[in-house]
Symmetry: C2
Subunit: 481 residues, 2 copies
């Protein structure tokens, strides 16, 4: 199946005909055809090797042999639903329970992080008898109807906000209302949540849950100030609601210091529900929800069965177990700490050198580089970020941007990402930023190279970007002539 | 992984401790531990072979080597998201399009039938600008919040019916208001849908879609009268809504005569959206939604991306392609027709012999046997059905019941189910029914055997079932002393 069966142009043509354009390609103007993956590398149809800095799903590395073998061995003997007894599902639940606070002792298995978050919503509503949800601004919790409703990142572009959804400000100490110079940003942001709850209650609304990624990712790789989530949990529980920690992008040792990102908040901090997805199965569709006996019992009391056809099948569980094995055997959590610290340090050196880098933040192999047009206003350097990512791609490095201003470079590579990889990326970043600065000094236009004849959003965004004033040390993208 | 790692009692104990009891086991009083599957057979930890008459997910047979090999070969080289170009996803879309009416030409790939039905809801609402849904009574469309809302089978036991959901009677010609003696049951049931639509419209509601399984399964293996869906589609489209055919349980050749169950309605009948799941990947978590260019474009016009992390990955598509290959190579659709007809014929002979069998209905390998307490009222023989299923299990035959009265035996085996298998099941069914009749004649109690010390719903249901009058030829379950 690694053989290339069709010219890239023909694949693209078929894709345009048969798939919806709502399902987007990376680099839509000149997409990459990937036919092989290994570790932290992806290979295109011409055998060119790309360094993958973004795939947090291929958690222990693309096509990890231990995981592939576990799937195959189980596929050979049995793959059926969880209505029969099987050891894999109980072994897997037990192994996961060992990574979590004791209170989180009941497990539900599903096929995607979205399914897990949807179930979290059902459980929270059943347990509390309340309907409403508090979420963070710019959050994304999944592609299902119920989750679009609690994802400002999505609903702002669609039907708008439902009356049962309440949005609290993102605890972003770089761009938000309370910044690094505030004496108590954690308290200040948590008070905002308290205020959101009170406003809702004044309207007669009742809070079922607070949902947040333990480190908000789509919102721009945000590291909430220490103590924030503990205080939010207090406010939310006082309102009768549950705390849901969405670990779909950030769990399974990525943050280095801890196995779960919510543990950055301290030993005593225990969410009521934790949802897992993406990295959990290294690409195999698996997901999990962990909760307390009390929450689970409230759901059981309805007498309604929860049946998920594929959820918790022996193959999905074998894959999940293999991922846990590899994380342990290869000590990838400690590795994430080492490589992540090294990468943070070297990116911070780049910040001192290149004024476009406004902030470098992160923990373990979850790192954000916030690109700005100017230091005072911290205006998102959206076009520059897009240009930079396209130049990195020309250099066979896959990186992406996120955040409301699409100006934050996201590092969330497979966990086997090495010190050499980190050094290589930083060197290329340095080269490109230096070149960009030179181009700006000589008044050259920064233009993203596209293949002849291509049209589309990527191209339009670059060609049509507004001209900005050339300021000392900052970059400008001029309109194409 | 086929080795048994733990005594069955220990597995059960761990499961009770770590999983929610909302996730139910078959035969909760004495569940089966299955450690191996092959074709239409499942094997427990003691090597006992069970004939699987119910697993419509293991569509081309448990652990089919072609499917297992396809998954493995692709897992070895690449499993990543659909933001890169890849041939598998376009090949798969193309192959699926060849099985469908030309109009259904745009494909979305997901991880479960539930995800597909949720997307169908989003697409229908976006396209029509309406919110409401018409569904059939007792229908089940998935485990997500949005789908519980449109599943009377579920919402009747939970929060109740939402104001945007409208329930039409099940087109059941055996138990519904219009039966086999009605001159035009299709027209009569379709008029009921028309009436439901009008009532909703009078309240100012607007219909986005009609959702139905092409053959309602959870509702009791219902075969809607010919012409029903075409007329429903007319009514629904006149109201500005879309017709969604849920093929999750019944697609991929199961009905024998056609590849899709909706095609039983004739060449001209084309739904606006078709959803697929379960059998599509022979157990691998895959699902698909097919729709028209017009519906897809309305969704694209929002400018909002649809990204499904695992959906359409190269492994899921390789598995889906392999299932299509096996269906073709082994001519399983024709096989379903042959074996299904044979099974229907022999079950009908049993109907003539055993008065408890009220109705035998089906097409291909989708068959229902409706068990009744009396011929006049057609009272569901709920306890008798449970007893029968437990006796079949003792004979190593896995069958289940469904329908609002849990009295309909459901045949939906892997498609490799053979003539011998059919003969074997019917012979056992005959033996057990004969024995049941003898027991009733000699006033013996029909009691489900449970292991000593077991307690639980299955046991309680049998022990606590109400005594009924002994009628000529019918069965009675007496209260246990």
């Amino acid at each position: 199946m690694a053989a290339d069966r069709r010219a890239k142009a023909a694949t693209l043509d078929l894709r345009r005909r048969l798939l919806s354009s709502s399902c987007r390609l990376f680099f839509p103007e000149n997409p990459v055809k990937i036919i092989r993956g290994q570790g932290q590398y992806l290979y295109d149809e011409q055998g060119r090797e790309y360094l993958d800095c973004i795939n947090n799903v291929a958690h222990v590395g693309h096509c990890h042999p231990t995981v592939v073998q576990a799937a195959h061995e189980q596929n050979l003997v049995l793959n059926t639903n969880s209505r029969y007894l099987h050891d894999n599902i109980v072994d897997y639940a037990q192994r996961l329970s060992e990574t979590l606070p004791e209170k989180l002792s009941v497990f539900y298995f599903l096929n995607s992080g979205s399914e897990a978050n949807d179930l979290a919503l059902r459980l929270a509503r059943q347990y509390t008898g309340h309907q409403d949800v508090v979420v963070l601004d710019h959050a994304y919790h999944g592609h299902l109807s119920s989750l679009i409703d609690i994802s400002p990142y999505k609903f702002r572009n669609l039907d708008g906000q439902k009356e049962w959804v309440h949005v609290a400000p993102l605890p972003d100490t770089y761009r938000g209302p309370y910044r690094e110079d505030h004496p108590d940003p954690a308290g200040a942001y948590a008070s905002e949540v308290k205020h959101v709850i009170s406003s809702a209650q004044k309207k007669g609304r009742k809070i079922a849950a607070f949902f947040a990624e333990s480190l908000p990712s789509v919102s721009g790789q945000i590291i909430p100030p220490a103590g924030y989530f503990s205080q939010v949990a207090e406010h939310i529980r006082r309102a009768g609601g549950l705390f849901v920690a969405d670990e779909i992008q950030v769990g399974f040792g990525r943050v280095g210091k801890h196995f779960w990102a919510f543990q950055l908040e301290g030993e005593d901090f225990v969410p009521d529900i934790v949802t897992m997805g993406k990295s959990i199965g290294n690409g195999h569709p698996v997901a999990c929800l962990a909760t307390t006996q009390a929450v689970s019992r409230a759901f059981e009391a309805t007498g309604v069965e929860y049946f998920n056809t594929f959820g918790g099948n022996p193959v999905s569980c074998a894959v999940g177990l293999a991922v846990l094995d590899v994380l342990k055997t290869e000590q990838l959590q400690a590795h994430a700490t080492n490589v992540g610290s090294f990468l943070m340090e070297h990116l911070s050196q780049q910040k001192a050198k290149h004024p476009i880098i406004g902030d470098v933040r992160g923990t373990g192999l979850f790192i954000g580089v916030d690109l700005i047009k100017d230091e005072t206003l911290r205006t998102p350097a959206t076009e520059e970020a897009e240009y930079l990512v396209s130049r990195l791609k020309e250099n066979y490095i896959l990186l992406s941007t996120d955040g409301p201003g699409r100006n934050i470079l996201k590092f969330k590579p497979p966990m086997c990402f090495s010190l050499d990889n980190a050094q290589h990326v930083v060197a290329k970043l340095d080269d490109i930023l230096t070149d960009m600065e030179e181009k700006v000094r000589s008044c050259e236009t920064l233009r993203i190279k596209h293949p002849p004849g291509s049209t589309g959003p990527g191209c339009r965004a670059a060609a049509g970007s507004r001209p900005s004033n050339l300021e000392q040390g900052n970059l400008v993208i001029k309109s194409a002539p």
